[in-house]
């Protein structure tokens, strides 16, 4: 089960997370390798979102150590947190789009924050919005989008910055089959180009059709972690 430390991009070592008295994560130890495709599943409230939050320091771990791409998260100075976060492209479960900014601005923000040139930003944002089929809504404000459209913008924002790792929290929850397939293909393409993908999901379809490791959480605990070399391994996911 222990992965080779050399190629691990994320190492989680005896991590606990409590919110007040509520134990959201209990003694999680997990390595994620470079270019792995990991599906995290488990019932509602199992701690999937919390686990992702710990990785990008959306919350600090209560106990234990986490290393991301060689950075020890418990030691990272406040100033370097943005550098950590730029390693990730994050699709939030509640999208977290800025309501006053247009679709274009929301996606461009990532590149602007990374100090990219305006020319480049324009080109990349347009091309990414095209891949998620949202180029015709480029000037719309998020509140005027349908649930699925918002989710696709969130996906676009997550991939636009060429991150090392994508964290996708329920990335297809509001999408119909076809749009979901597009998104999954996008994630798979990112994976093929060498990226690491961690998807938290309940979506049986997604789990069935995706090859990669399946990590199951239950009540904050790591239940099992199964390598499935072909999508046929689906029945284990039950």
């Amino acid at each position: 089960m222990e992965a080779d430390a050399k190629s691990a991009i994320i190492r989680i070592f005896h991590v606990f997370k409590s919110y007040g008295t509520k134990k959201a994560l209990v003694d999680i130890t997990l390595d994620i390798l470079k270019n792995e495709f990991v599906l995290v599943t488990g019932p509602s409230g199992a701690g999937k979102t919390t686990l992702l939050k710990l990785l990008y320091l959306g919350e600090p771990a209560s106990e234990g150590q986490i290393l991301v791409d060689g950075i020890n998260l418990s030691r990272i100075p406040r100033k370097r947190v943005p550098i950590l976060r730029r390693k990730f492209g994050i699709i939030f479960q509640d999208y977290k789009l800025i309501p006053q900014k247009s679709v274009y601005e929301n996606v461009a923000l990532v590149l602007e924050a990374a100090g990219k040139r305006k020319r480049l930003i324009q080109k990349k944002v347009r091309s990414v919005l095209r891949t998620v089929n949202m180029e015709d809504k480029i000037d719309a404000l998020p509140p005027s989008l349908s649930g699925g459209e918002q989710q696709r913008v969130a996906v676009a924002r997550a991939v636009v910055g060429d991150p090392k790792i994508i964290l996708a929290d329920e990335p297809t929850g509001s999408l119909d089959e076809d749009s979901a397939k597009d998104i999954i293909n996008l994630l798979k393409g990112f994976h093929t180009r060498g990226g690491t993908v961690i998807v938290a999901t309940h979506d049986k379809d997604l789990i069935r059709k995706t090859r990669g490791r399946l990590v199951r959480l239950g009540m904050g605990q790591l239940m099992d972690s199964t390598e499935r070399l072909s999508p046929a391994a689906e029945e284990q996911a039950g």
Binding site: Y56, G58, K79, V81, P82, I83, L84, R85, R86, F88, I90, F92, K96, L97, I98, P99, Q100, K101, E105, L109, V110, E112, A113, A114, K118, R157, G161
Partner: protein, 292 residues
């Protein structure tokens, strides 16, 4: 830097409701502050005009030769605090007394000789017009052998001075109070403004924006809002000033008093202040929201 300005302008436009309310509040605060400053400045002018009426009489020895007057005058002129010296021959003094006495002037009609001495009338420079300083000057004058007696409205001046001092004290205290209140109101309003946008701040942090990247446009916006508020506040005050000044001056004929607007340095200082306060409000709120 240029792109921060662009983002700041975009943000200002996309939060128009919030920003217009904020600008109105800032304008009103600036208006309060600057209106009070204008009030104090003009009252101060008025007081100075009055003070120019404060005089000191220096009565000379009855047997003093008139040819020694110019030398003495020059000597007095050089004393500390003296603004102007004029010679009042005793004939003029009697005439003046007659006019001043009004009804009681019957007393003077029956006189066979003029019992009054020649005198100098002094006008003091304004800063010397406190009870203490006038007394010092009077003592000094009385040392001169040519001077018999020095007279000035000791009691009246003392009283007026203490009232003016009270007024100035109260005015400065109120001014300071208004200043602080305006600063806090502006800062608070900007805090509410940024609070209403805290979600945006949080999201930007999550997608890897540095604190500097997030803060810069807010600071620019805060300063623009402060500047706008300052311009609008001072602008409204100026319009009110224009509307009022002609009426007031007409009602004040007789005094060489013109209602004036705040001096340019003051206008500049208020504008600068409102920009700084806009910045400061951002500083306070961002410090708070960036911590968590």
């Amino acid at each position: 830097m240029k792109r921060y300005y662009r983002r700041a302008i975009q943000d200002l436009l996309s939060n128009r409701f919030l920003n217009s309310i904020t600008v109105v509040t800032i304008s009103l605060s600036i208006l309060i502050l600057s209106a009070f400053a204008l009030f104090l400045a003009n009252v101060g002018d008025l007081v100075n005009i009055w003070r120019q009426g404060v005089r000191m009489m220096v009565y000379l020895q009855p047997d003093l030769q008139r040819d020694r007057i110019p030398g003495l005058r020059a000597e007095i002129q050089n004393m500390y605090g003296v603004a102007e010296v004029s010679f009042i021959p005793k004939e003029a003094a009697l005439e003046r007394l007659r006019n001043q006495m009004q009804r009681q002037s019957s007393i003077i009609v029956g006189l066979d000789h003029n019992p009054l001495p020649d005198a100098f009338e002094l006008r003091m420079i304004p800063t010397t017009q406190t009870g203490g300083k006038m007394e010092t000057l009077a003592k000094e004058l009385e040392q001169l052998p040519e001077v018999e007696e020095v007279e000035y409205g000791q009691q009246w001046i003392g009283r007026l001075t203490s009232v003016f001092n009270l007024f100035r004290l109260a005015g400065s205290a109120l001014g300071a109070l208004f200043f602080m209140a305006a600063v806090f109101i502006v800062a608070n309003t900007i805090r509410l403004l940024i609070y209403a946008r805290r979600e945006e701040v949080e999201i930007m942090r999550l997608v890897g924006a540095t604190d500097g990247f997030i803060k810069a446009p807010f600071y620019i916006e805060g300063m623009i809002l402060g500047a706008l508020g300052g311009v609008i506040g001072l602008g409204s005050l100026f319009l009110m000033y224009l509307a009022v000044s002609s009426n007031v001056e007409a009602s004040l004929t007789g005094d060489s008093f013109t209602l004036r607007f705040l001096p340019p340095e003051m206008v500049g200082a208020i504008l600068l202040g409102s920009i700084i306060v806009g910045w400061f409000g951002c500083y306070l709120s961002l410090k708070q929201f960036m911590k968590t």
